[in-house]
Amino acid sequence: MFGGIDPALLIAALMVNSVPIMLAATGELVVEKAGVLNLGVEGMMIMGAICGFVTAVVTGNPYFGFVGGALGAVALSAVFGVLTQVLQTNQVATGLALTLFGLGLSSLIGQSYVGIKPPATGDLALGPLADIPFLGVAVFSHDWMVYASILLVAGVWWVLKYSRMGLVLRAVGESHEAAHALGYKVTRIRFLAVLFGGALAGLGGAYVSLVRVPQWTDGITAGAGWIALAIVVFASWKPWRVLAGAYLFGGISVLQLNLQAAGSAIPVEYLSMAPYLITILVLVIMSSGRGKAALAAPACLGQNFHASR
């Protein structure tokens, strides 16, 4: 116990808190690794939230809900993909428009779903693991998406680092001209990356409406997508650092609320801006201590590509 706060409960809370951001940020990382900057994460997340919610309510099955959420966001990300990859639109502007569109559309779809409870997503029964002192409460008493999201981070890390697919993806993001010259289909690869990013953002959104706050209300993701974007940069486009960044941000967000609940003497107004300030501070420390290459964004990030032959 420190300051009246139980660390096991704190860890448990931050693991749940971080899931939506972590999922969305992992998806966006893949998109950006392929050289595409999609600022529409918030819009895709909220589409995932409503589509997941509707699917879960209609089918009565939370697992279908997550599938529906992912598909809903994939559909929206496809709009982004067509616009930026086929019609060569500016990625920053298209991403922001995507968020606007997603917020509006989700609210239209959700009009008759306010005040309904979705089917519950239960905790995963981990048997004896859940009885381990400290770790049982902190780590082994969550729903399956908590673990699935960590596995997804691991999977993305492995694929990017060791697989041929990852190599091609990175090549496309670092130099689309060279990748094209080698015969890779730049547009197609980027399009698929965008869809993957949409799917993960959708899962993150569905997690908000199905697990974290099991309900639908307009604007339920409340800016989580923007934080996810910041986390990708924070992570310097490295998957494990996305996990670290999401846990850091989520951890401080949870900690500040816990400190308040425990009656801490630190003024509330400073506590409530702490997650943002500390995230900036940590990135400054990391960026000042390392070589330039370690922090560099994919070289072609945000640039459009058109095969001229």
Partner: protein, 361 residues
């Protein structure tokens, strides 16, 4: 002042050009400006229910129009002016932040009635204000909380440190303390009216601290959803709307903002010509604050006591802020038997004795 003259000229121009449109109607048009989406399930949702009640009550004689998601400030002034130009006869502005915009537009359209919720400025004869005594509901909740807590720790998720919220915290705490002297209150300031994920986190933080009764002053049902995950260990209350979907779970009662009686009354007065400027601040008695059904989780005797308190407040025989009450620093606020003047409540910026912590500045 030069500016005043300019404004007056503009107003005259607008009035001359468009005054006719508003007059020529036989239907009464009631308009509503909302700060959030109707789908917020809380504050705006309840105001919209009030608007629908007006339509229901008068049928063809009334036309309603509304606009959601109107930001406070410059946009509000424009929206209000457009409403006035569109022929609204009475305009309800349903958020505190519309105060200056309401008064500014009211100056330009003296024939249109403006009703501003939760504010205090009535600079023109055609501006009325209305609010509800939510603290009366908080008293009932506090009583239930004090009786129901097993850990003697109760929690409050607060939005922003404004008198409205502080009033609620004080009322909740005083009545919990009255029936359970050992009770401790933990307050979490979310610094938002609406952020379901953050509200859920705040509830979780309170629960992790051992709190087993949670009241909230934010708009979503997220705190109840979080409490529901404890399988009955933690209870809470519906806020703004009944939040009946959690009735079989943690929601043991609720405060319902019921604007319908007021809206119907005002529109009716406008139609029959008895309308007059007002500063309405009604509570349980006027039907604006409703105590939602107290569920079976609450023992019958506690339920009976809570309902007796509700009825006493409604009958005017009990005021939730009746002395002796000291301020947090120990100084006397209300002497024995004294009842809080409305002015004190409307500007409340202190905790009562016993609450730990400071109000954020």
């Amino acid at each position: 002042m030069k500016r005043r003259t300019l404004l007056a000229t503009a107003a005259l121009g607008l009035g001359l050009t468009f005054g006719g449109a508003a007059m020529a109607q036989d239907k009464t048009k009631a308009c509503f400006v909302y700060v959030g989406p109707i789908g917020d399930g809380g504050w705006t949702y309840q105001h919209h229910q009030g608007a629908l009640a007006v339509q229901e009550a008068f049928g063809d004689k009334v036309e309603i129009a509304f606009q959601e998601n109107v930001p406070e400030g410059a946009d509000a002034e424009r929206v209000l002016t457009q409403m006035a130009l569109s022929g609204c006869n009475i305009i309800f502005t349903t958020s505190f932040g519309y105060m200056d915009a309401t008064n500014a537009v009211a100056a330009k359209f003296p024939d249109i009635k403006f009703e501003h919720a939760t504010g205090y400025k009535r600079e023109h004869p055609n501006v009325s204000t209305y609010n509800a005594r939510f603290y009366e509901g908080r008293a009932v909740q506090g009583h239930i909380a004090g009786k129901m807590t097993k850990s003697n720790k109760i929690g409050y998720i607060a939005s922003f440190p404004i008198p409205e919220v502080i009033m609620g915290i004080n009322s909740y705490y005083l009545h919990a303390k009255k029936v359970n002297p050992a009770v401790e209150l933990s307050i979490v300031w979310a610094f938002t009216w609406f952020d379901p994920a953050k509200e859920a986190d705040a509830a979780k933080a309170l629960i992790d601290q051992g709190v087993d009764v949670i009241a909230s002053h934010t708009d979503s049902t997220a705190p109840l959803a979080e409490a529901a995950k404890t399988n009955g260990a933690v209870i809470g209350f519906g806020q703004a709307s009944d939040m009946a979907e959690y009735k079989d779970g943690p929601r043991v009662s609720s405060i319902i903002d019921n604007w319908a009686p007021y809206y119907v009354k005002r529109v009716s007065a406008l139609m029959d010509g008895s309308y007059a400027q007002a500063d309405a601040w009604e509570g349980i008695a006027g039907g604006e604050v409703e105590i939602g059904e107290i569920t079976a989780l609450v023992p019958a005797e506690v339920k009976a006591e809570a309902e007796a308190m509700r009825d006493a407040i409604a009958a005017g025989t009990y005021h939730p802020f009746t002395g002796p009450i000291n301020k947090q620093d120990g100084s006397v606020w209300l002497a024995d038997g004294a009842v809080a003047p409305d002015g004190d409540l409307l500007g409340m910026n202190f905790y009562v004795e016993g609450i730990v912590g400071e109000i954020p500045q």
